[in-house]
């Protein structure tokens, strides 16, 4: 079945003030309608302040990261887009003419990138509005309908979120995404879905919608051109019954247009953050690491930054392996993001150095890493704290002898040819040495001892 899927994605930009007033943008913990003023609540006669420059520059930078051409040397207007909805205090939304055009991300064409303003937060069930959010600058990214399955749509959304996250220009808190999607399947009509708040939501909404539309077509029914809302709790879409309106778009006579010149674009390009897919490519080449490892490393900008800082100090391949496996595991286990990491690259490099010199086993290294994430300190110090100072050969031998002596049944089993008994004994030795011994050394020594005891037994016999 052929289908076309496109997105309009909105994310809040990370500014301190709103786009056209000086109200704060950190509305998370603010009581309703406290971060508001006459401008962002559309009191009669209130005029917008000049647009927040940081927001404009953020949109330019994001447009560049998405491979767009920035519209230069011609006026970009802040327009009024009119519609009647409780969350929209002025009855129109500020939306710029395109700032970026003709971009591309993972094979999906980016049609336009705009600067917009967030409306207030409307609770459609309770019938309440809180305008704390109203007027926060947004970047709007409009794609061509270039995706052909829910999975492709999900892949694009993930990658887009990653790019936005990388840019550092959007608000870092989760849940600021607002997306609309349009879907048409062959032989049908385009349907728009609003109220999507996550990549997962987008995937489920599209999946549901495709099934719904397919069902209609199979039954020979007509698909109406309409706007539907996605209900996250039930993972379904329902009609919004919005009147088809004309947006009566006019340039806002209260706000002068701006013109971006090439020099400004180039200045932003220079300081622009490398996009994740370009960085992945570079990491593979520069550090000779696997595609798979690079993919994991670039999944968070801070993770990639840390990787490069560490890889400059020690074997990049070892670093990549550790990032991909043990570090990722520890972070996942502790439910942390790379941005939460407090230890220094030097500390991590120090740990890898110990592993490399076989002063600690990889397993011990992981224990140290856990401590490092919890409470950063010099790895040497952590090693001592964990009681993981290197084991003397005599200590290990004593432990092996003790384990053999205390577990005659396992010894017998092993001598009878049950290999798994060796693992059991190794575990005992591990316990006795409190994990300080290298498992490979333990098994080696165990085997040797058991072999010689077998010989002794034979001799006696």
């Amino acid at each position: 079945m052929k289908m076309k899927i496109g997105f309009e994605v909105h994310e809040q930009l990370a500014t301190k003030r709103k786009l056209c007033c000086d109200c704060p943008t950190n509305y998370r913990d603010a009581p309703p309608n406290t971060n508001v003023c006459p401008i962002c609540t559309a009191m009669p006669g209130a005029k917008p302040m000049p647009p927040n420059e940081r927001a404009v520059d953020a949109v330019i930078e994001i447009a560049l990261m998405l491979g767009c051409d920035v519209v230069i040397d011609q006026p970009i207007y802040i327009q009024r887009k009119h519609y009647d909805y409780p969350d929209l205090p002025a009855g129109y939304q500020h939306s710029s003419t395109p700032i970026g055009v003709n971009g591309e991300l993972v094979g999906v064409k980016i049609r336009e990138v705009h600067l917009e303003e967030d409306p207030g937060a409307y609770d459609p069930v309770a019938g309440t509005v809180d305008f704390n959010r109203s007027g926060i600058p947004l970047v709007e990214i409009v794609t061509e309908p270039d995706m052909h399955s829910p999975e492709e749509a999900r892949r694009f959304m993930r990658q887009l979120m990653l790019v936005l996250d990388y840019s550092g220009k959007v608000r870092p808190e989760a849940g600021t995404l607002r997306a609309d999607t349009n879907i048409s399947i062959e032989g049908g009509t385009r349907v728009e879905i609003k109220n999507i708040n996550s990549t997962k939501g987008a995937y489920h909404a599209i999946k549901f919608e495709v099934m719904r539309q397919k069902g209609l077509i199979d039954r020979g029914e007509v698909i109406l051109y309409e706007t539907r809302a996605y209900l996250e709790s039930q993972m379904i879409t329902i009609p919004m019954r919005m009147k088809v309106v004309d947006f009566h778009v006019i340039p806002d006579p209260d706000i002068f247009p701006f013109i971006i010149d090439r020099a400004h674009v180039e200045a932003i390009r220079k300081r622009m953050v490398e996009t994740p897919h370009l960085r992945e490519r570079r990491l593979v080449k520069q550090y000779q690491i696997s595609q798979a490892a690079a993919g994991v490393i670039v999944s968070e900008r801070e993770l990639a930054d840390l990787f490069e800082a560490v890889a400059k100090q020690i074997d990049p391949k070892l670093t990549a392996t550790w990032f991909r496996t043990r570090l990722k595991k520890v972070l996942n286990y502790m439910k942390l993001r790379a941005a939460d990491i407090k230890f220094t690259p030097k500390q991590f490099a120090g740990l890898l150095q110990m592993v490399k010199l076989k002063r600690v086993t990889p397993e011990q290294g992981e224990l140290v890493l856990r401590e490092l994430v919890k409470k950063p300190a010099e790895p040497e110090k952590l090693l001592r704290k964990l009681g993981l100072a290197p084991l003397k050969r005599a200590e290990l031998e004593a432990a092996v002898v003790k384990a053999i002596k205390e577990n005659p049944k396992a010894v017998k089993d092993y001598l009878k040819g049950r290999k798994e008994a060796l693992n059991f004994l190794a575990g005992k030795v591990m316990k006795l040495t409190r994990g300080r011994a290298d498992p490979r050394r333990i098994t080696k020594l165990l085997r040797a001892k058991l072999r010689s005891s077998k010989r002794r037994k034979k001799k006696r016999a």
């Binding site: 009669p44 006669g45 000049p50 009119h82 009855g91 509005v129």
Partner: protein
């Protein structure tokens, strides 16, 4: 209120008249006359207390400000915190202003006392003062006739001596038209000279706050007080301060005054005769009078109406009845609804090019023609309104009503400035001369008006 603005200020400064006394007299005058005239919708209950504070400052010898102790009326479309700012509409019948307009802040900082909110045409949609939801205003200078609009209450309040100065607004003629009919002085400043934060929109790209006053001195004084850049607004001009009073007395001998044959084509001959008399006076004062071309003057009005409607439609979308007030379409008067419908129609996507954008092209044309004319002369003088004010209650067609704006709306399109001063009377009814200046030519306009005022 009996004497000129300058003399009154002097009396206040010398302590012969206190701010409290002045405000008290204004309130008494309102009490006495306003049942008939209906120039005010709402009075400021704190006016007396504010006047007392000004008096204390004067007594202590502190700088009390340029407007110290003067009683100021504010048009009901200018937000004055905690007063009902209704635009004379049921839509905002219970809206209590949540903030002070920038000009109100400036007036207060200068020691002016806002005594109340003036009546007006509903949402400034009208040229007669009759569309107010609070009832029409009478013309104190020609009782029984309209005072003009939309700043009807402001001009009437000045003419009846109910306050010293007024903050009004002009979109297509709303200061100039009532100034002419009521025989008072007013000026529409250059777009962007006066900050408009707090002015409830009729048409943002034309709306300008400006003064109405009994004399040129008062007009210049108020304009000086409120003019100048507001960094928190996009569209104010980058001027830190202005000074008009110092040059008010400079003679006008070297000034070139333009007139246009177009004016007499569009104007009632009786009105034109008075205007010609005023031009003659300017000539006698030493000004050089020359003729200028304004080839498409008469095309301005309908283009103005189209652009204004599109912007008005946009501006009224916030009046959805949810946050404050009531939904505009449900309670507004005919003219307001007409403009909303008009704006709705022309700013639709498929109509834009034909109507809205076309009107914006005519705006370009008018700007060019006025610029060319004003490159040749310092000011262009002519009538303000093509006809005399009608009697209250006369039924006019919408087209006849619009015709009042024929000569004022082109200036709004041109983005220049224009003042109005009484030129004379026709059967006891005032006729105002419109003095049209260049961009930021307020100083010259005021000088010309001041010279004319002196020969009366």
């Amino acid at each position: 209120m009996g004497r000129g603005t300058l003399e009154k200020l002097d009396a206040i400064h010398r302590g012969e008249l206190s701010a409290v006394e002045n405000v008290q007299r204004a309130l008494e005058q309102i009490e006495k006359l306003d049942k008939q005239i209906k120039a005010f919708i709402e009075l400021n209950p704190n006016a007396r207390a504010e006047a007392e504070a000004v008096d204390r400052r004067i007594k202590r010898g502190e700088r009390a400000g340029k407007l110290a102790g003067l009683a100021i009326g504010a048009k009901s479309n200018i937000n004055v915190g905690d007063l009902r700012t209704t635009c004379a509409s049921k839509t905002l019948g219970n809206y209590v202003a949540t903030y002070d307009a920038e000009v109100v802040k400036r007036v207060r900082a200068a020691g002016g006392i806002i005594i109340g909110m003036n009546n007006m045409d509903e949402f400034a949609c009208g040229s007669s003062g009759e569309t107010s939801a609070f009832g029409p205003t009478d013309n104190p200078a020609a009782p029984g006739r309209i005072p003009g609009g939309s700043s009807s209450g402001s001009a009437a309040a000045i003419a009846a001596g109910m306050c010293d100065l007024c903050l009004a607004s002009d979109t297509g003629g709303s200061i100039r038209n009532p100034a002419s009919h009521c025989g008072v002085v007013g000026i529409r400043p250059t777009q962007g000279l006066v900050p408009s934060h707090g002015l409830i929109e009729l048409s943002v790209s034309f709306d300008q706050i400006g003064p109405l006053a009994p004399d040129v001195y008062g007009t210049a004084l108020m304009l000086e007080t409120i003019a100048g850049r507001n960094p928190d607004e996009c569209t104010t001009l980058d001027l830190s301060s202005v000074n008009y009073l110092d040059k008010l007395d400079v003679k006008i001998e070297s000034i070139r005054v333009g007139t246009s044959p177009k004016f007499s084509e569009l104007t009632d001959p009786a009105v034109m005769k008075v205007i010609d008399g005023a031009v003659e006076k300017l000539h006698d004062l030493g000004a050089e009078v020359v003729e200028v071309e304004l080839p498409h003057l008469e095309k301005g009005l309908s283009a103005y109406y189209v652009i204004m409607s599109a912007e008005f439609f946009s501006a009224t979308r916030k009046f959805d009845g949810r946050k404050y007030g009531r939904r505009i379409e449900e309670v507004c008067g005919d003219e307001v609804l007409r403009r909303i419908k008009c704006g709705d129609y022309i700013s639709r996507k498929e109509q834009r090019g034909k109507y809205y954008q076309r009107a914006l092209q005519v705006r370009t044309l008018l700007r060019r023609e006025f610029k060319e004319a004003l490159d040749r002369v310092d000011v262009i003088v002519g009538p303000t309104v093509p006809k005399l004010p009608h009697e209250l209650g006369t039924k006019l067609s919408p087209a006849e009503m619009r015709a009042y704006d024929y000569l004022t709306s082109p200036i709004s399109l041109a983005g220049t400035c224009a003042g109005v001063i009484k030129a004379g009377e026709v059967n006891g009814i005032p006729v105002g001369l419109q003095v049209q200046g260049r961009v930021l030519g307020e100083g010259t306009v005021l000088r010309v008006m001041h010279a004319l005022e002196a020969v009366k």
